[in-house]
Subunit: 181 residues, 2 copies
Amino acid sequence: MTDLNISPIHPRQAASEREPGVRPEPTWDLIELLFFAYRDFVGDPDDVLTKLNFGRAHHRVLHFVNRNPGMKVADLLDILKITKQSLGRVLKQLIDQGYIVQKEGANDRRQRLLYATGKGEALAMRLANLQTERITRALAELGPGTHENARQFLIAMINVENRNQAMKLTARPDPKRKTTP
Amino acid sequence: MTDLNISPIHPRQAASEREPGVRPEPTWDLIELLFFAYRDFVGDPDDVLTKLNFGRAHHRVLHFVNRNPGMKVADLLDILKITKQSLGRVLKQLIDQGYIVQKEGANDRRQRLLYATGKGEALAMRLANLQTERITRALAELGPGTHENARQFLIAMINVENRNQAMKLTARPDPKRKTTP
DNA sequence: TATTTAGGTCAGTCATATTGACATATTCTG
DNA sequence: CAGAATATGTCAATATGACTGACCTAAATA
């Protein structure tokens, strides 16, 4: 019932053989594995979020706010690459329900700096722990150096123009670690 | 304008240090890199699909039908893990616009076996080539063995109960390659 | 014959995203 | 200081992709 029985019928020549020497064979395995892996990767948090009447969008917002305390709304939009109208509803719900607070910028009073509350941090950590469990299990199944290999592969998959941002964000181990006592 | 300037404020102790010895630090880097990498990975096809008034759902359906000619509707639902109502509209549009055809099953005439048309295969290959370009570029930036490392990491990230299916689907290089002349 | 299976469809709902227009407060600049 | 630019919020309309639940037909099967 779970297993499939798909038999390829009507075999034809691959496109690269019909149009001689134009294209290499697509990397079907990685294309499909990325789909399956990402789906399961976000599936764990989804289950928790559903019970709270939240969705993936709430997760992303809470995650980056928790990781970057005091970030501006504009920064969040630039990371998520969505419009402020899309962010609006989701952010409002997180604020109304006490997961995130806004504070007026000290220098620029137009800014609404975003912070996760204790409640928000707790949820963010709960979701991050779920995803970490999956990653840790995956890395443990494989040899040493896998974390670094995966990291480099994922970075290389990012658009060149987005890499600096991604590296800056992910290079910091944890803003909540004792940097300033 | 593109770059962010986020300074972490209010550093606190990490959760693993407050609740002594409970949790390891979350793997922030891979969690976030998976988000960025997957977003850019699906972004290339999205741009093409938008011009055709299609979305990601159409891509997934067309992709798996093209890769598995003659598959049953039930197989597709099991791969995509969506309901038949969700599949319905998307599949109907692909059929109406001549990207996919259905043929009655030879043995079981209840079945509607799915095949990509020439037009469908052309679009599927165009999208796969975009994603392959990104993957090939990424792998070329890194050392040898990266393809295999990435493959194993992604497989290990998949739910155990979904792995067999994923491995079976992705193990086959290309159903259109000359297996039976 | 009765039940199960494969597939389709109607109706309603929800979450996430979009564009476009506009409003408010604040900062910056000539 | 006046006017422009910036940061943010909001209203309205729309599209996409997913869901549940109910119901239907045709064909296979027990």
